[in-house]
Subunit: 359 residues, 2 copies
C-alpha cells in the first residue's frame, strides 16, 4: 500500500488535540507538538507522529505525567540537574536545554543532566535550540536496552543517540545527530515493513551469532554498537553508548544500562530501579566564550565549503555534510507534506476514535 | 627479531636527557617524559618512546618550540583558549587540562580549547588528570589528515581521538580512549612490521576502492571513519571525527581538516594555513556539580560490576570495560618492562649518538 501524505499543519493540529486531551497544559502541548513533528519534517519517521499513540498508552499506564512540575534539584554556576517529574520528554528536554542556554549566557557554557524523564523525540531539536544564540548545542539520552556490548549476549544499553549542532555563517549549520549503534532501531522497522533482510553487522541473535532478520529483537536478539564487530571497532561504539548512558543516567540520578525503563507500555519497567525514569544530558557553549562568533562562523563556512567540494568516489555525487539530509527533507516536506505508512494512519484513526476526535 | 625489553625508568631517564638537550626547561622535560612514557606503559606503543626522534626532528625543523610561553588568550568563567606557542603537545596539553580543572573547581565545569600546539601523546593521560579531583575528564585533538570521509577520496581529517575518563569508587575508573576511525594508524604500523594484510573496512585506495594493504597510505590511500562503510555507519564515524576537528581546530583558532600540519618533519606544513598549529580540546566536570561524588561513584561501581558480569558470546571470556586493557598493560609493564621493536631501539641509539648520550 502507498504512503498517505498529510500536511505538517494537519498533523500538528491533531497531535495538539491529543496532548490537550491527556491533560497537558496548553504551552506544554504546543512545545510537545513542535518537537514531535520536527522529527517527521526532518525525515526521522520513527520518532514523530508514529509515536503519538505510544505516549498516550504510557500516560494511560500512569508512566507519563501530563502536568509535571519540572524543577532544578541541584546546581553550580555552569551546571544543573533537572527532575522531569515523569513528564513527557518532549516537554522536559527543551525546558532543560533552555536552562543550559541561560547558564551559558552567564558562564560561557551550561550543562544540564535530567532524571525522571521519558522519550524526548529527536536529539537534533534540542541541540539546534542553541544555534540562534550563536552557541553550540549538545544533546544525548539513554534509552530502553536493545544493544549488546561487544562480546556480550545481553541487551545492556539503548541506541543512546548524540547530537552536536554547530552554527555557521552563510552555510547551514553542522548538525550531527546519530544513534551510537551501527543502525538505529527505526531502520529495522523500515525493513520489517518492506519484508527485507538487514545487512550483516547490524543485529545479533540471542546467542550472539550473526543475524540478518529485522525481527530478531523479538527473539531475544540485540542491536550492535557502531563498528559491527571487534575487528571493525564495535568496542568504540560501545564506549560511545556507555558515555551517553553514564552522562544521561548516572550524573542525573536516572536509571541506566539494563535498568532503563522500556518505551512501550506492554513491557513493565524493572522492579529494582537504580534511579528515576530515563535520563538526558544537554550542553550549550557560547561561541564567543572561545573566540568572536563572526570569526568562528566564517571558519565554519570554510570548513563546510572545503568538505562539500571534496572529490568523491566514482558513482557518488557528493560528500554529505552532517545535517544536509534532514534539512533537505524538511524543506521538501514543509511544502509537499509528510508521507505516512498506512499502518501509522490506522493507528492515528484509532487514537482519534478513542478521544472522539476527527483525524 | 624479538622485541627488546627495557624498564620504564630507563626509558624515562633517556627521554628526559633528550628533552633537556633540545632546550626544554627542567619541569617541562619532566612532564613531557611522564606523558610520553605513559603511552608505552598503557600499551599504546605508537604514541610513546617510538615518537621521540620524531619530536626531535620537528624541533630541528623549527616546528617545535622547546621554550614556549604557553598563555591564555581568551576566557569566560567556564572557558579558556590557550596559545601553545608551538610547544610540545606533551607539555601544552597537561597545562591546558590543569586550567580546565581549576575552572571546574570554581564554575562546576571547565572547557579549554588549544591552538598552536603539536602532537599531545595519548589522550588518556590528560583526561585522567581529572580523576583525582573527583571530576570527569574529556580530551580530544585533531591530527594530520589521513582519513577520507564517507564517499570522499581525499584525506580531510585526522584519526582525531576522544577520551572520556570517569571516576568510580572501588572499581577502577572508566577510561574510553579511542581514535574515531575503524582502526588507529598504529594498528597499520603493527601489520606492516608483521607483513600482514589488514581486514577489509580499515583502508581504502586512492580511488576509494577497498584495500587490505597496510602500506596503502603511501600510495595516496586513506583510513576510513569508524563504521567502515555507509551501510555500517561510517557517516557516524565521520560525524565524530568532524566534531573533534571543529572543537579542537575552529573553536581554538588552530588549523583544521586538510590544513592540519603533518606530524612528520619530511612533509612540509600547508603553505596556506587557516590557523595556528594543531588544536586540542579539554573538559573537566566536577561530579558534585551534579550530585554528591560518593553517590555517583557507588552507581559507577554498580554500572561497571553489572556490565563486567554480563553473559558473553561463546568463546569470549568477558565483556571488556573501557580502560581495562590499558590498566592491565600498565600493571604488567611497570614490573616486567616495556617491549620495544628492534627498529625503535636502533632509532633511539641513533638519537643517543646525535646528542653524544648513552642509550
Amino acid at each position: 500500500m502507498n504512503d498517505i501524505v498529510l500536511s505538517h499543519q494537519h498533523l500538528k493540529k491533531f497531535a495538539s488535540e491529543i496532548f490537550l486531551k491527556i491533560g497537558c497544559p496548553e504551552e506544554q502541548a504546543k512545545k510537545a507538538v513542535e518537537v514531535l513533528i520536527s522529527a517527521d519534517l526532518r525525515g526521522i519517521d520513527s520518532h514523530g507522529i508514529a509515536r503519538l499513540s505510544g505516549y498516550v498508552r504510557l500516560w494511560e499506564a500512569k508512566r507519563i505525567n501530563s502536568t509535571p512540575n519540572i524543577r532544578v534539584v541541584h546546581e553550580s554556576p555552569s551546571t544543573s540537574v533537572v527532575d522531569g517529574d515523569a513528564g513527557l520528554g518532549l516537554v522536559v528536554a527543551p525546558h532543560a536545554m533552555e536552562i543550559a542556554i541561560q547558564k551559558a549566557k552567564v558562564c560561557g557554557t551550561g550543562w544540564v543532566a535530567v532524571k525522571n524523564s521519558n522519550h524526548f523525540g529527536i536529539a537534533g531539536y534540542h541541540s539546534m535550540m542553541a544555534l540562534e544564540h550563536d552557541m553550540i548545542g549538545i544533546s544525548m539520552t539513554n534509552a530502553s536496552p536493545l544493544v549488546a556490548p561487544t562480546f556480550s549476549v545481553e541487551r545492556l544499553l539503548g541506541t543512546n543517540p548524540i547530537c552536536v549542532a554547530i552554527p555557521a555563517n552563510e552555510q547551514p549549520p553542522f548538525v550531527a545527530d546519530f544513534a551510537t549503534t551501527t543502525a538505529a532501531n527505526g531502520k529495522l522497522e523500515i525493513l520489517q515493513r518492506k519484508n527485507k533482510e538487514a545487512p550483516e553487522g547490524w543485529i545479533q541473535k540471542k546467542d550472539g551469532s550473526i543475524s540478518t532478520s529485522p525481527h530478531e529483537l523479538k527473539d531475544g536478539g540485540a542491536l550492535i554498537p557502531l563498528g559491527s564487530d571487534r575487528e571493525h571497532g564495535s568496542h568504540k561504539g560501545f564506549c560511545l553508548g556507555a558515555w551517553v548512558d553514564i552522562f544521561s543516567g548516572i550524573l542525573s540520578g536516572a536509571n541506566y544500562g539494563p535498568w532503563v525503563p522500556p518505551f512501550v507500555s506492554f513491557l513493565a519497567p524493572p522492579t529494582d530501579p537504580v534511579g528515576a525514569g530515563i535520563g538526558h544530558f544537554f550542553g550549550a557553549m557560547r561561541i564567543d566564550a572561545f573566540r568572536p562568533a563572526s570569526e568562528f562562523k566564517l571558519h565554519m563556512d570554510n570548513w563546510i565549503t572545503r568538505f562539500r567540494a571534496s572529490k568523491t568516489i566514482e558513482g557518488q555525487e557528493k560528500l554529505i555534510i552532517p545535517g544536509d539530509p534532514e534539512r533537505e527533507s524538511e524543506s521538501e516536506r514543509l511544502v509537499n507534506g509528510i508521507p505516512l505508512n498506512p499502518k501509522v494512519v490506522d493507528d492515528l484513526k484509532a487514537l482519534a476514535d478513542k478521544f472522539e476526535l476527527k483525524f
